[in-house]
Structures are given as structure tokens and as C-alpha cells.
Symmetry: C2
Subunit: 475 residues, 2 copies
């Protein structure tokens, strides 16, 4: 038997989100919603969205090139590239093949991996696939690269403020500063119609908001129970929330993260965890006889458990919520944006800390897994990851647009979705240097992108010139 690589995990991260955003406070006023409905009810601050210049392909081109440049990674050193996305621009051609343009330029076409798809879970599947590859006998010694890229848009109505957009790139390899505790991993997957996209001509999903939330919480319960069982079997002692330093959740909106954390607290109570204080036990006792389904519907339980878990939420969750609250739901990138927020906020104090991640994709697929932080070696250190991501600057330099302009943009995008034969404005004034953007979709639906140059002029030429695809040009 061959031996597996050691400490395989995440070496480096970069994140990109559009510079255009709308304030949730303004949006709720514009929508005629009651005050606080989006900001307190959903717990969201701001929402990023793509204009006609950006899409999941351009965002991932930007994130990948940025990561490679900032960490000084030679594109020939990538041996696997996996994309997680639920934003379908083509039903056959993967986003991964668009990203190959970056590598073909350097003569590297020997890169395994395609797109992984199931709602917001695809990024986690891509991540696991990449890590497993490095641990497998087919690993060739090169880095893996995982990309989560999505643009979440909803039809007018109550779900619209739960949109967002971003792409995250993660470099995978051995001796990483962020490693997996793979043996505790627990999944819950099942057939459900909570959120899906059966209307192929529309970018918008069909959503049963209430069912989706119940599905999410049931999957969370199931994963947590399994995770705890495995932890106990492996470690010989019970697991409770006190055994992890941070809890990160897929975040369609922050309120669900608050509910989820409180739900884990309730689980610890039901499992009679020693970490639950007597006073809390008394307050939760009235709910211990509720059936599973009743407990998901009980507003009282929700309120009491959130209050009891509040002090733990502040230390174990709060610092993971920055980007999900500021950018919105990023689908596959959402959980990893929470992770990026944690590194941004706490990078100097994370070594030896354990984080629990809960990934959820409607339909449904869910996994709970744990990561551990280690020292790492430059450039693959937590502080360098924070520096490269440069989250504060990216948030600060955004343009807040009016709700009217936001609605107008979404109308244009509705019209453009699945269409052909158009050019974009190419007005890149809002984009940072190095950002990729869509220039044209031709009469054969072929998409062309350019890169905003470092000096502020448009077009690096490399991608834009690749009119017929590399092979079509005989490259």
C-alpha cells in the first residue's frame, strides 16, 4: 500500500465580489417592506450583484488569476481544478473549461477536474474532490485549485433581498495551514423540492422558503448528531459546542445562521451536554418533549435558544458573518466567504483552533466537517491569506447604488439571460485593475471576456482575443 500525503488542506484563498451593491435598508424602504424586515428580519446589511459586465465566469477568472499572481504560483503547477457553481450559463460546457484559458497560455492543459453541481453545496463537493485527489494514488505532486462562483438573483418578491454574488478560489495541497479532520465528517442527503431551478429559461429559482428552512435545520440536526457520534467514537469523549472554537454555516441570510447556531445549542441540551448550564436546562426543559417537526415550527423555542446561545454566538460565530452580511448569499461561495471573514477578523489568533463547517445545498445535500488551523509557512500563512484577501479595502471601495438602479440592472439581466448577439457597454470604471469582464456574446452564443489592465485601460488582449476558443485557433 502506498502512503497518503500529510496535512492536506487549504494553502491559500482569494475572494472576489462585484463592486456594485445595494443597501438592504434602502431596499426594504424601496420595496415597501416593514422597517427592519431585511436588516433585522433577515439580518442582512448589503447585497452585491453583477451588472451586465460580470458573471460567474468573469468573477472566477478574476479570483483565480488574482490568487495565482498574489501567491506567485506558476500556472503550470496546478494539476487539478474543480469548480462548484449552481449558476448555469451553459448546460454542457463547464465553467472549468473557461478557466482553462488562464492555463493554456502557459502550456498547461493537463489539469483534471470539472464542475460539481448541487445548489449551494457544489463548492464543498469540489473541495472534498480536490483534497481526496491529493491524498489518492493518482496525485501527481501539483496543487489543486477549488473555485466557488455564483450569482444569486431572485424574482421580485420576498426572496429578492437574499441575493448576492462572489467567487472564491482556494489552493489545495499538503502541509497546509488549514487541515481537515476527515474522520468526523458527516453528511445528510435526501430528495426534497425546497429550492430548485426547473424553469430552464429563467435565471430565477423556484423557492419554498418555509420548507427550505425546515430542510436546512433538519439536515443540520442530522449532520450534527452524526458528527458528535463519530467524534465520540474516535476521541473517546462526547462532543459539544465547547469543543470547537468557531461554527460556520452556509448563509442564505444571517438570521438562519443565528437560528442554526441556537439549534446546535438545543441539540447539546437534548444530548445532555455537560457544557449546558443548569439555568439553560431549566429554560429549555419545556421544549424537550416536542417532536422534531414541532421543534422546527416553535417560535418560542427559537427565541429561548437564541437568547441562551447569544453569548456563545458572539464569540464562536459573530466574526464569521462579515462577508455573508455585507455581500449577501453567494450560494457555493457563501460558506467559504464566512471562512474568509473569520480569517480576516481573527488570523492572528487562530493557530490550533478548530472550526466546524456546515455546508448545505437545497435538493438536498449537506455535510458537517471540521478544520484545524496550523502555523503554515510563507506564503501559506493565515496572516498572508488575510493580507491577500484584503477584505476591508474591497468592502470600502464598493459603489452603493440605489434600489431603482438595482432593479433596472436585474431587468436587463433577465432579458440577457440565455440570449445571444449582444455587446456590453465595456464601461469598466467601477472595476479594479485585474478584473475580468464580459465584452460580447456573439451570434453563436460564444462569450468573450477582457481583463482590465493595471494602468486602468481596458483589455489585456489575452482572453479577449481568444475569439474561437484556443483549439479553434489551432493553439
Amino acid at each position: 500500500m502506498a502512503s497518503q500525503q500529510k496535512d492536506v488542506g487549504i494553502l491559500a484563498i482569494d475572494i472576489y465580489f462585484p463592486p456594485t451593491c445595494v443597501q438592504q435598508e434602502e431596499l426594504e424602504a424601496h420595496d415597501g417592506a416593514s422597517k427592519g424586515k431585511y436588516t433585522i428580519g433577515l439580518g442582512q446589511d448589503c447585497m452585491a450583484f453583477c451588472t451586465e459586465l460580470e458573471d460567474v465566469i468573469s468573477m472566477s477568472l478574476t479570483a483565480v488569476t488574482s490568487l495565482l499572481e498574489k501567491y506567485g504560483i506558476d500556472p503550470t503547477q496546478i494539476g487539478r481544478l474543480e469548480v462548484g457553481s449552481e449558476t448555469v450559463i451553459d448546460k454542457s460546457k463547464s465553467i472549468k473549461t473557461f478557466l482553462m484559458q488562464i492555463f493554456e497560455e502557459y502550456g498547461n492543459t493537463d489539469i483534471e477536474g470539472v464542475d460539481s453541481t448541487n445548489a449551494c453545496y457544489g463548492g464543498t463537493a469540489a473541495l472534498f474532490n480536490c483534497v481526496n485527489w491529493v491524498e489518492s494514488s493518482s496525485w501527481d505532486g501539483r496543487y489543486g485549485l477549488v473555485v466557488c462562483t455564483d450569482s444569486a438573483v431572485y424574482a421580485e418578491g420576498p426572496a429578492r433581498p437574499t441575493g448576492g454574488a462572489a467567487a472564491i478560489a482556494m489552493l489545495i495541497g499538503p502541509n497546509a495551514p488549514i487541515t481537515f479532520e476527515s474522520k468526523c465528517r458527516a453528511s445528510h442527503m435526501s430528495h426534497a423540492y425546497d429550492f430548485y431551478k426547473p424553469n430552464l429559461a429563467s435565471e430565477y429559482p423556484v423557492v419554498d422558503g418555509k420548507l427550505s428552512q425546515t430542510c436546512y435545520l433538519m439536515a443540520l440536526d442530522s449532520c450534527y448528531r452524526r458528527f458528535c457520534d463519530r467524534f465520540e467514537k474516535l476521541g473517546g469523549k462526547p462532543f459539544s459546542m465547547s469543543d470547537a472554537d468557531y461554527f460556520l454555516f452556509h448563509s442564505p441570510y444571517n438570521k438562519l445562521v443565528q437560528k442554526s447556531f441556537a439549534r446546535l445549542y438545543f441539540n447539546d441540551f437534548l444530548r445532555n451536554a455537560s457544557s449546558i448550564e443548569e439555568v439553560a436546562k431549566e429554560k429549555l426543559a419545556p421544549f424537550s418533549a416536542l417532536s422534531g417537526d414541532e421543534s422546527y415550527q416553535s417560535r418560542d423555542l427559537e427565541k429561548v435558544s437564541q437568547q441562551l446561545a447569544k453569548h456563545l454566538y458572539d464569540t464562536k460565530v459573530q466574526s464569521t458573518t462579515l462577508l455573508p452580511k455585507q455581500v449577501g448569499n453567494m450560494y457555493t461561495a457563501s460558506l467559504y466567504a464566512a471562512f474568509a471573514s473569520l480569517i480576516h477578523n481573527q488570523h492572528s489568533s487562530l493557530v490550533d483552533k478548530r472550526v466546524i463547517m456546515f455546508s448545505y445545498g437545497s435538493g438536498l445535500t449537506a455535510t458537517m466537517f471540521s478544520l484545524q488551523f496550523r502555523g503554515g509557512q510563507h506564503p501559506f500563512t493565515l496572516s498572508n491569506i488575510a493580507t491577500v484577501m484584503n477584505v476591508s479595502e474591497k468592502l470600502k471601495s464598493r459603489l452603493e447604488v440605489s434600489p431603482e438602479k438595482f432593479v433596472e440592472t436585474l431587468k436587463l439581466m433577465e432579458h440577457r439571460y440565455g440570449s445571444k448577439d449582444f455587446v456590453t457597454t465595456k464601461d469598466t470604471s467601477l472595476l479594479s485593475p485585474g478584473t475580468f469582464y464580459l465584452t460580447e456574446v456573439d451570434s453563436m452564443y460564444r462569450r468573450y471576456y477582457a481583463k482590465k489592465a493595471a494602468n486602468g485601460t481596458t483589455g489585456s488582449g489575452n482572453i479577449a482575443a481568444c475569439k474561437n476558443g484556443s483549439l479553434g485557433n489551432g493553439h
Copy 2:
């Protein structure tokens, strides 16, 4: 460091294709094409297609339940399930989640994996992901299951006879009768618009037939060169076609398989392989100065190399072409249907034999990899795989329908694609017992399936009754 499992590979296989098919000879007459255009020009005999009762979900439900039953695998023993498909019924909810219904019934919801997508390559990605999982530190000791499922349909025109439909299920684990030689694996991936599905409202692809064939052959060349280099580096001696017993190709139509095998022969000539005879060298010499692009366009080279490789084709390829010629292009299932054909035809003489597999997905992604056959232990033996697949019987019991009926069916399916609120005829007279079929798509686009019972009456009830999805029902 932990150690990897040994001889991880394919333990068991089952295949399903629709009982309805059209003869290519009749179709070419119906289409007014010149005689032999489909049968000799494309090299195809027959084409399977889904009626309104079947789709990629029903076919994969059938293939998976059949495999589990015939090999006596307890559904709780599956720890990972990966689907490869390019037939999009929902843009967010994976086919894998539909298959979870089989396992939920047995209380097993802890199954990792989602759908892998890039044209016809998704099945290979799913296979690699499953094998890597078994070799990784996160393997939990259970089986992996890979499903390739596709329905290939084309708009009226020259590409229509290159359709087909099938689902294949493969069980993955250690100590397998079919193992991977992972270190020689070679990929070629690049950005191309040879075949893609940008028209989201239509099931039909946009195809540039000529470009697609060139892309395929360029990717083949690139993969073969890399594969040979790796083989030589590892084994210390050059690789040529004489070092493998069988060559299997993704097969959109058989003619491309003939061309591909001849292309490998030409590669061996260019690489000055000792296995190429002097007389062949003389005949190929005039083509040695052609540029890559010229060589793809040269009809003379194609003709000469096919003639020279003919005797090798008969021994190394012929027995792999049965199902691809009889069923048609099965997209992700196509390469594995060639593999199933080989086992069907040669199972008693395969032990210690090496096969080279070439997987291609437009867009584009391609990998060449090699497998080796071993003895295996019952029920995981090659002869049992052949018995379970029962290919002869499945082919024999099909109903050949007229081209008119075929065209009429595709018209109905065009109308049904992406639509809601309809019921099917539920006339299952053509389906074998144990076959799943679509009964209804409700006003919310939710799809319901039933299973034809063993006694010939319709409906096992289990799946059909699962109206709101398992979680929706509180299962």
C-alpha cells in the same frame, strides 16, 4: 501518514437503456440521406431513445436499483454516490438527490457526492472522484457508486442520427477485478466551443461537427503523447499500442472510433515505435511532414492509417463497439458502454489484460487512462458482471419503432422539455419489470416516478408515493 487501500477499482457494473429504438438504415431512408450515410458513414446500427415515460432520472433509478439487487448490496453499504450527466432537467437540484430516494428508504442519508458536469466527460470525473475517495483519509469503509446517465437528442438535421440514451451504474471499492493504473493517467483540457448547450430553453445542443471532431482528435493526440511519456518514465520502456490489449474511446458514432484508433497508429509511427512494420512506415512516410492541423484534415492520411490499423482494430477495438453501435451516443455513459461491451464479449479471457480508455467531453475535457483486469471474488468477477448486465437479452427484447414514430416522439419531448403540469400515459407495456418511469410533473415542476412491479402491474408505490420529497413528508 496513513496508508491507501489496495486495488481500488470497479467491482460491479449494470447498464440500462430504453427498450425503444430506431434502425439507422431506416432512419437514413426516412431522412432522404444517401444510402449508407448513417450505417457506414457514421458506422452506427441502431439508436435508443427515451419516450415520454423515461428520462435520465428514471434510467438511473433503474440502473442503481438493479445493480444493488443483483449483487445483493445493502443500500446502507453505500457511502458515496456520484453522478455524471450532461442532460439538465433542473439547473440546481442534482440527479444524485433523486437517487437518494432509494437509500432513504433504508435509513441511509449519509452518502457523499453530487453531480459532475462537463459534456460527455462527467462520468469519468465521477469515477475518478469515487476512486480517490476510497483512497483518501475520509473513506469510511463503504462502497462508492458511480452513475453515468444521459439522453442524447439533436435537432432535425445531420447530427440527429448521433443520438442515444442509457444509464450505467458502477460499484467502486478495494480489491476490485478492474483496477486503475493511476500514475500513467494523462489529461488535456482547454476552452473550445465545439459542442455546447447555451440555449437553455432547448434540450438540443449547438454543434460545430467539424470543429468537434478536430478537437476530439487533438485532445486524443495530446493525451496519448503524455500517457506514453509517463508510461516510459515509470516503466523504463517506450509505450506503443502493442502494450495494451484493448483501446476504448468515447463514441459519439463508431466512425470516430475507427478514426481515433488509426490516429493512435499514426502517433506510434511518428514516435517511431518498433511495433510499426516497415511496409506501414513506407506508406505513412508521405504524411510525416504534415502540420498538426493539416494532418487532421487529410482524408488520405485517414484512409491509409485506417487501412494499416485495420487488423489491430479487429482485435483491440471491435469487441468494444457493440453497445455504442446498437444504442448510439450515450454521452457520459458512452465510454462505459464500450467497456460493458468488452466485458460482455470477452469476459472469460480478460484477466491480466490492459485496456486504454479515452474519455472526451466537448468544451473541452479529455483524459486517457488505463485499467487492468484481475480475477476478482464472487460476486465481483468479470463473468458475473457479464451475467448481470445481460446485454444480449436486453438488445434482443427491444422494440424497433419506425422513423416516423421516432420523430413524433422527439416532437412531444421538445414540447415537454422544461414544462410542467402534465401526466404521462403510464403505458409501461414495453418496459421490463423493475424499470422506473415518469408518471407526472406537477404544477410546481415536481417530478414523480413509479417502478414497474415484477408481476407486470405498475407501481411499487415507494417512489411514486413520495409526493413532496422525503423531508417534506417528515421522513
